[in-house]
Amino acid sequence: MLAIEDLWVSIDGQEILKGVNLRIPAGETHVLFGKNGSGKSTLLMTLMGFPRYIVRQGSIRLKGQDITHLPTYERARLGLGLAFQRPPTIRGVRTRDLLAACAGGRSYQYLVDLYEFAPFLEREVNYGFSGGEMKRSELLQLLVQDPAMLLLDEPESGVDLENLQVVGEIINRLLQKDRRRSHREKSGLIITHTGFILDYLDADSGYIMLEGKIPCQGNPREILQHLKKFGYEECARCMR
């Protein structure tokens, strides 16, 4: 589904990603751990094609197509969907209109009803939303958009326990976790700092990002256990 090869990225002239390699097959969910400032969000923003993130070297392929230099909206239309960690507020634009734009004419009312989102439809996009409401809004937009490859940036951050349950449910739906593994088509790359989200979903593979590189890959739960026990410092030592 997604193949990243030797990706070097800089922001404002500063090199952030230094040769990242990653392959996510169709139907699999991968988790990327890393401490703040390690380059996790930069990777997601680069994948989505935001202009500030300059690809110096390497390539990004989605479903076999090279998207390294495509504009953001074309990547979205090809099936890439991003849930932002801190989405912007857009005053005056109603959430209903944004969902309609995501839907491209498809019906989405049943999803609004299912996740009890109707009270938010007339509100301005993300204006006055709590952390949990914001995440629900982000994930609902993705449900409506129906991307093949999901990018989730810290889905658990700023969410209380009650909302985390719902966030987990929606992510599982997005990633078709109700299907047998061999029947899943959607893939996901989830960034997490704490790993809390793993209490609510199964992931197939995990990575650690350190200083713009991905030195470790393994079972995500084992990586999380390791991080809980030794922290990221141990990873840094290991890398040296």
Binding site: Y73, R77, I90, L98, C102, Q145
Partner: protein
């Protein structure tokens, strides 16, 4: 000569406190007489379409009353509901001796040369009254129309909403499709008596070389509500207006919303002042300003004179052109302890992160920008007839295109 006339005479060359100065001699006072038109037969399809852009539908069917003045001539005037009165102001002055007490009470005749000129060379204007307790569910439509190129139109309007009555006026101000230049001076004095409600929606759709100088004063008594919507979306040369609303009775309320687009060559100096003079009065002044290359002074002033009043002022501006200018001047003035006045002002360009966010949802850059602009300009105006609502929506969509 009456004292009012004398004061006007003394002020006929007095510059306005705000806005660019105009030479009144540059505008024509010749002609401008038009026949009364009971069936709107004198309007071409082109004119009808143009009027619709300012919210004017040439029909009596969907309105509780109508008033249409072209240049100096009243061409249509009708009230279609009991409890509602619509008259040319000159006729109302002849009919009601008490009306003189309501003229120049909320706007000073010697405020500037524009008020003075209106007194000294009045064309006409409307008098609209909702009698006590009258509920007028359909809007009253008024239109002040410049039909002769270069003409200066002087009108004086009075609206009285008597106790417990409710009224919505939609006023469209526009020009004939062939008119390019001219001046509109409109003095308006609105009285909202105890428990009454006046919704006043004004849509300006002028031409590129038109100058506009409205002068408005509003008085709201106990429990009364004054709701004002002002839309200026199309090009104009200059507009300078600064309506003042006085909330004189307890629990009176005012809400002033304006949406302004300054096109290249346009100079706007627009704002609103609310004076909270009685306890438990409330006010909200909200302005959204978009510069596409023109200049806009966006003013707002909340003045709290007694304790236990609450008011909020919001000026938000977007500049979409390197030549654009928006100058927001929010003023809060509390003269006693116990007033609660707040403001929020922001002027800037469209945030890149907002555009990128929408692009991540599949909108291309142009769609993303126009979505943000539409949202910025969109205002929900209660009680707009569907055709007008559609027209306003269309104008806003057009404004957001091609940015």
């Amino acid at each position: 000569m009456s004292e009012v006339k004398e004061r006007a005479e003394r002020s006929k060359d007095k510059k306005a406190a705000l806005g660019s100065d105009l030479d009144l001699q540059a505008f024509s006072r010749q002609g401008g007489e038009w026949e009364y038109d009971p069936d709107y037969q004198s309007f071409s399809p082109e004119e009808r379409q143009h009027l619709l852009r300012a919210g004017i539908e040439l029909t009596d069917l969907e309105h509780a009353g109508t008033f249409l003045q072209a240049d100096r001539g009243v061409v249509h005037c009708k009230a279609s509901q009991p409890g509602l009165e619509v008259l040319p102001i000159t006729e109302a002055m002849n009919r009601y001796g008490w009306l003189s007490e309501h003229l120049w009470r909320l706007v000073a005749v010697d405020a500037d040369k524009y008020t003075a000129r209106t007194e000294l060379a009045l064309d006409n204007g409307y008098f609209i009254r909702a009698l006590a307790g009258a509920q007028v569910p359909r809007p009253v439509e008024t239109c002040l129309y410049l039909r002769t190129d270069g003409f200066a139109q002087h009108v004086h309007n009075v609206v009285i909403v008597e106790p417990g009555a409710s009224l919505h006026i939609i006023t469209g101000c526009t020009t004939h499709p062939q008119v390019r230049s001219g001046l509109h001076i409109g003095v308006s004095e609105f009285y909202v008596r105890a428990g009454g409600q006046l919704t006043f929606t004004m849509i300006h759709n002028w031409a590129e070389d038109i100058h506009v100088r409205p002068r408005t004063g509003v008085l709201v008594e106990e429990g009364g509500r004054y709701l004002s919507n002002y839309l200026l979306l199309r090009p104009v040369k200059t507009v300078q207006m600064y309506p003042t609303v006085r909330l004189v009775g307890p629990e009176a309320m005012a809400r002033l919303h304006s949406v302004l687009v300054a096109h290249p060559g346009t100079e706007l100096d627009v704002g609103g002042r609310v004076i909270l003079e009685a306890p438990h009065t409330r006010a909200e002044v909200i302005a959204r300003t978009l510069s596409m290359g023109g200049a806009c002074m966006s003013r707002g002033h909340l003045l709290g004179l007694v304790p236990q009043v609450k008011a909020h002022l919001e000026c938000r501006g977007l500049i979409l052109s390197p030549q654009g200018l928006i100058y927001a001047v929010p003023e809060l003035e509390g003269r006693v302890a116990g007033v609660e006045l707040s403001h929020e002002a922001a002027v800037g360009k469209i945030a890149a992160e907002e555009v990128e966010y929408l692009m991540a949802r599949g909108l291309d850059e142009e769609e993303a920008v126009s979505t943000i602009v539409r949202g910025f300009l969109s205002v929900k105006i209660e009680g707009l007839p569907p055709a007008l609502e559609e027209e306003v929506g269309k104008t806003i969509r057009e404004t957001g295109k091609g940015l």
